[in-house]
């Protein structure tokens, strides 16, 4: 059987673990630059605060109801995610990490509802985060079971398609909109609705071949998966990434070349670390920068695609490439609001000595710098373009401590 385990209100739950006074209080977490609301406690949801809502739109609601607001603290969330995933690996035969707070597990048990509860209590006790568990024969149904477990308190956080009362499940499937299914977006939902397929049950009982004709093989598979026929097995080995993106909206507008170079150099640094961590090399880089789409009269976007002469994971080479691109597309007199780089044409790094255009000593240099950064601080070694507290840095007015990744920011107790 396949279980989908998902942390409830993940970012908010992380904040609550280290600040116990937030328990039972309305809490929201904001995206980069404190732009939008990206995680809400149940209390905040009940106040009518919507997912993805721009912070300024929710400000009245937040003030009136004393909602606690946090800037996103990704170092903390990433570490807590790793802890959950590590623990879930112990509790299953096979694992596919699906996102920062979701994991598919392959489990084989006598009593699945009981085992689901065991997963819940173990993760809550050992790591301190609340999860819900959906169990079924296919991924699509496991996702649906998880949705039910989260939405309806009567299930106590666990739904299993082979054990939970089947009448109840059918009744719910007749109520739940087809748009809640895994892989059904707004447009697909609208098209399905036009054909009279409104609920999950409608799609489950639809003719699979007809669905293939009308839409695609993916919808046919979805019908099969809803009927216990597995089409998407657990993929414990992730396919290599196709591209690596590192981009950011700036805390304030940037109109000086040095500030932009600082930002771009930092993007290159982050992207090249990601590249090396996954043992990949890249040959192509896209650099883009644009002004604020909302507050400017004209939309201005500069993009350049850069080609390196060979596959590389070397920070210096990538940086030189990016700076060449920056010189070409940077325009004086524009208030830039966002920029980023995309590394493309990725390939697994092959034999070190043969394949590294820059030679093995360069490879060692990048790895040594990575190791020093890991040991001390991400900012301890920087390229000449970067500054320690860049003007472009994120606007984060209320960030909690990095309780688990920085000696300086440990939890304190008297």
């Amino acid at each position: 059987m396949i279980a989908l385990v998902d942390v409830n209100n993940f970012y908010v739950s992380c904040e609550r673990l280290f600040n116990r006074s937030l328990e039972h209080a309305p809490v929201v977490v904001l995206s980069n630059n404190d732009g939008c609301i990206i995680s809400r406690s149940n209390e905040a949801k009940a106040l009518g605060i919507k997912m993805g809502m721009p912070f300024f739109q929710a400000q009245d609601l937040i003030k009136k109801n004393h909602v606690h607001v946090y800037s996103s603290n990704y170092p903390l969330y990433a570490d807590m995610s790793n802890r959950v995933m590590q623990l879930l690996a112990h509790l299953s035969q096979d694992q596919e990490i699906y996102s920062i707070d979701e994991s598919f597990l392959k489990i084989n048990q006598k009593n699945y509802l009981l085992y689901g509860q065991h997963i819940r209590t173990t993760v809550l006790k050992n790591v301190g985060l609340p999860v819900c568990v959906g169990i079924a024969k296919t991924k699509t149904l496991a996702k649906l079971a998880n949705y039910m477990a989260k939405k309806y308190p009567m299930f106590n956080g666990v739904v299993c398609f082979s054990e939970t009362n089947s009448k109840t499940l059918t009744k719910l499937m007749c109520e739940i909109s087809v748009g809640e299914l895994w892989g059904v977006g707004v447009r697909l939902k609208n098209r399905l609705n036009e054909l009279g397929i409104l609920t999950v049950h409608d799609l489950k009982t639809a003719n699979a071949k007809w669905m293939k004709q009308m839409f695609s093989i993916n919808i046919e598979r979805m019908v099969y998966e809803l009927n216990d026929i597995e089409c998407y097995p657990i993929e414990s080995i992730k396919p290599d990434q196709k591209q690596i993106v590192c981009s950011r909206s700036f805390g304030q507008k940037i109109n000086r070349y040095e500030d932009m170079a600082d930002a771009v150099a930092t993007f290159v640094q982050r992207a090249s670390i990601k590249l090396r961590k996954q043992r990949l090399t890249a040959k192509q880089m896209t650099l883009f920068m644009r002004n604020n789409l909302f507050s400017s009269k004209h939309r201005i976007q500069h993009v350049i695609r850069l080609q390196h002469y060979d596959y590389t994971d070397n920070h210096q080479q990538l940086l030189r490439l990016a700076m060449r691109g920056l010189e070409k597309i940077y325009h004086q007199g524009i208030d830039y609001h966002k920029a980023g780089i995309v590394l493309g044409d990725l390939r697994r790094s092959v034999n070190l000595n043969q394949d590294y255009s820059a030679g093995p000593q360069w490879h060692h240099l990048s790895n040594t710098i990575d190791a020093i950064r890991d040991k001390y601080d991400a900012n301890i070694i920087m390229s000449g373009w970067q500054s320690k507290d860049g003007k472009w840095n994120m606007k984060q007015s209320n960030k909690s401590f990095r309780f688990t990744t920085s000696w300086q920011e440990l939890l304190e107790a008297s």
Partner: protein, 194 residues
């Protein structure tokens, strides 16, 4: 009608690339290979084409994850192996000594003197394991009304309470209606002198 039809569409004799005119000088076939290995396969084909002999240049397979091994790196100048090589063991690691379950272990900085008789001083870092269940007399990290505190878990006829390890401090009784929980069990502490 028929004439018209012949003028449009259909196969034209002699159209298309000639057989064997391609890179490999013979017919080719479409096969599925992983995108990441396309380069390898191409260079393999080219390298074997050039030499046109039985000698094949082997391509290094890509290595997914390095496997750490203990390296016996003693040079053997005159055939005397180091007598220690057979007995090599991995060096002691404090993480291994102090941490039982990595995913449920957290570090917490101590502020204040309330636990000095238990050997926990101001600014020490204690190791907290959430996976352990607290028993009476364990040192625990507890939270009372949102405040974190490290104390000894004690119990009397009224229920659990928290006991400091310093006579100057009073026991903390848990008032009814207050939010109280044991966050984790303290399993050790560390202190640096320099």
């Amino acid at each position: 009608m028929n004439n018209k039809k012949n003028q449009k569409g259909g196969a034209r004799k002699g159209a298309g690339r000639k057989k064997g005119s391609g890179l490999y000088a013979e017919s080719t076939k479409v096969v599925r290979i992983p995108i990441s290995r396309i380069g390898d396969v191409k260079s393999f084909l080219l390298s074997t084409k050039k030499t046109n002999s039985n000698v094949v240049n082997f391509i290094q397979p890509s290595v997914q994850k390095p496997v750490p091994i203990t390296l016996f790196s003693h040079k053997v100048p005159a055939g005397f192996p180091s007598p220690a090589d057979d007995h090599a063991e991995s060096r002691l690691d404090l993480n291994e000594y102090l941490i039982n379950q990595t995913e449920s272990t957290f570090f917490v900085r101590i502020k204040g003197d309330s636990m000095i008789d238990a050997g926990i001083l101001d600014n020490d870092i204690v190791i907290v394991d959430r996976s352990k269940s607290a028993a009476i007399n364990d040192i625990v990290l507890a939270s009372i009304d949102g405040e974190f505190t490290v104390k000894v878990l004690a119990k009397n006829n009224k229920g659990p309470y928290l006991m400091p390890a310093n006579k100057e401090f009073k026991p903390i009784h848990i008032e009814e209606g207050s939010q109280f929980e044991i966050w984790g069990v303290v399993t050790g502490s560390v202190r640096k002198f320099k």
